[in-house]
Symmetry: C2
Subunit: 384 residues, 2 copies
Amino acid sequence: LNVAVQELTASAGEALSFAELPRPFKLWRGGELPSGVIAYESWGTLNAERSNAILLFTGLSPNSHAASTARNPEEGWWERMIGPGRAIDTDRFFVMCVNSLGSCFGSTGPASINPATGTAWQLDFPELSVEDLARAGFEAARTLGIETLHAVVGPSLGGMVVLAFAACVPNGARHLVSISGSGAASAFAIALRSVQREAVMADAAWQAGRYTPGEGPQGGMRIARKLGTITYRGAAEWRVRFARSGLTPRSERAARQAASRYPSGFGPRFAVEGYLEAQAERFVRVFDPNCYLYLSRAMDCFDLGAHGDPVHVLARSGLKSALVIGVESDFLFAIEEQAEAAQHLQQAGIPTQFARLPSIEGHDAFLVDLPRFDARIRGFLAST
Amino acid sequence: LNVAVQELTASAGEALSFAELPRPFKLWRGGELPSGVIAYESWGTLNAERSNAILLFTGLSPNSHAASTARNPEEGWWERMIGPGRAIDTDRFFVMCVNSLGSCFGSTGPASINPATGTAWQLDFPELSVEDLARAGFEAARTLGIETLHAVVGPSLGGMVVLAFAACVPNGARHLVSISGSGAASAFAIALRSVQREAVMADAAWQAGRYTPGEGPQGGMRIARKLGTITYRGAAEWRVRFARSGLTPRSERAARQAASRYPSGFGPRFAVEGYLEAQAERFVRVFDPNCYLYLSRAMDCFDLGAHGDPVHVLARSGLKSALVIGVESDFLFAIEEQAEAAQHLQQAGIPTQFARLPSIEGHDAFLVDLPRFDARIRGFLAST
C-alpha cells in the first residue's frame, strides 16, 4: 500500500476495495508501472450478467467516497446523487467509483512505493495522461468480470476521462455522461493550472519533488487550492454569498492561522478570504503535491483530437447514447467545450442530449445545484 | 528620490516631473507621510485660465508614461489615445498622468525612503487607500495652479480612483471618465487578489517585507503577475489567440528560463505558458513587491459606500457629466459594477453615458480594443 493509503487506513482506508492492474500497466505516452492498484468503493448489486455497472470517475481532488457506505458512513462528495431511488439508482445499478490512477487515496500514483526502489515514485512516476485514468478505471471494472459498462459517468476531470474512455476502450460502455468536462483543455484553463503548479514548485519545501511525505510544499499547495476554489465557482454566486462581508465566526479560526503566517496586516479580512483559507487547509492536509502536479498536467495535455478526428474516434466507441452537461457560468471548462463534445458525439451518430444549465455556481455546480443535475441524469439513465 | 526613482534615473527617470505633496500628507485611514512626491508626465499646453487640464490615473502596474514625450520617446501604455487630434486631444487639453501614490515609478510609496529612519518605508508605510491616490493626484495638479480639472480619467484601478476623487474632492473636476472600474471591489476580485498577495508573502525572500531592494520575492511576484495577466484577459480571446499551440519562438526564451527553475518536465509547453512567463519576467524586473501588496489591498478595501450613500456622495461632487465604460467579458471588474456606478451617477443628477462594450479582451480591453474605446472617449470629451 502506498503512503497515502497507510494514512487512510486509520480512517477511511479500511472501507476501500482494491483492484490490481495488469502487470505491467503500460501508460499511454510511454513508460509503465510494474504493478499498481486502483482503489474503489461501490454501491448496489452487480447482476448475474454483469451488465448493470456504472463506472464513476471523479474530479481532480475527490477520493472514491462518492456516497456513504456500510463500511464508511461519512457523507460522500455526491451523496444525494447515488442511492436507492436516487438519480443514479442503486436499486437498478451497481455503481463503482474509482480513485484516479495518479491520485493519492489508495490508487497507485507518484506518492506510492516504486517496487524497483522501495521508495515513493515521486517524479520518477511516468508521465500520466487522462487516457491512463480511463484505462485503469476499466481494468478495475474488469477485475469484477465486467467487460462492458452500462455507463461511464464523470464530472470535471471525470468529464474528460469518460471521453478518453470512449476513445481508448471501444465497446467498453453503452452510455456516457460527461459533466462540465472537455475534449481538450482551453488555453485559459492551461494558464490557470500552470500558475497553480508554479505555486507548488516555487515552494522551497517541494525540493524538486523529493520532499519527505507529510513535509511537502504546504504553502504552495495552499495557494494552488485557493486559486482552484476560485476557478471552481463564479463571481455572480459570490456576489450574493459573500458580498464584502468581514470574517465570519466560521472562517475566523482559519483566518487567524493565516494571519499568524503573515503578521503584517495583509492577512484575511473579508469573509471570502476566510472561506478560501478553510478550503485550502482541508486540501493541504490530504492531497499529495506530486500527485497534484501529475493530474493537473494530464488535464492540460488531454486532447481527444490526438486520437484522430474526434467524430471518427467517437463513431468507433460503440456508445448507444450520451448525455453532456455544461454550466453557463463555468469559466474553467467553458460551455463551448461541452457543446463541442456534444456536437462531436452527435455527428458520430450517437443519440446525444446536451443540457446547458443556467446554474450560477460555475464549474462546481454539479456538487451544489443538485436539483438541476439530478433531473437531467435521472431522466437520461431512465431512458437507457 | 526613492529607490525606484534612482533606478529609473538611468532610463526614464529624467523624463519625469515631480510634484511635492503638502507636508504632512495625511492618509485617509489614519497615518501620514511627513513628505512625499508624485511623479507625473504631461502632454499639451495648460491654458491661462488653467481650465483645460485632464488628470489621468493608471491601473495598478503602469507608470506615468501614458504616451511618448520629447523627453521620453518610448511608446506609452495609452499611446494611441493621447495626442494632437487623438481621443484625448492635446491640441485642446493639457493632459497629466500621475504615477499612483504607493507605487514605485517616482511617486512616494513603500519602496521610498522614510525620512524618519533614512531607510525604505517597507511595511512601516501607513495603510494606503484608493482615496489617497485620488487626493495625491489632485495635490499634484494643484502644484501647477489647477484647482478644477476639466476631467478626471482612469481605467481599472484608475476607474476606482476617479470615483474616489468625486467623493473626496468636491468640485475638483467637471467631468469624469471611469473605465472598467468599480465603486466597490467584488468578493471574486478580492479572492483573486488575496491569492496574488499570498504568493508574494509565501516567498521566503519576502522576509516579512524587509528584503533588500532588488533581492525581493521574485518567485512570488512572478506567480502574482501571471495570475494578474490571466484575470486581465478572457478565455474567449485566448481560445483564438493561443488555442493549444506549443511554445512559439517568441516565448521560447522565457520558457527556457522557467524550465531551468523547474527541471522536472513541469515547465512551460504551451504558447500560453510562454506568454505568461514573458509577461511575468517584465513585471518582476520593475515592480516593487511591497508597493504591489499595498496597492492590491487598497483595491480590495475601496468602497464608495464608506463615504455615505453613493448617490448622495456623488450629488455633492460638482460633476457636470460622466462617462462610464464597461466590458462584457471582464470578469475581474464585472460589468455589473460599472452599470451600478453609472446608475449611481445618474441618480445623483449627473448626466451620464454608460457604454457596455462587447470587446473579447476582458479587463484589459482598454489597452487593446482601441477603436471602441477611442470612439466613446472622443465623443464624450467633444461634448464637454
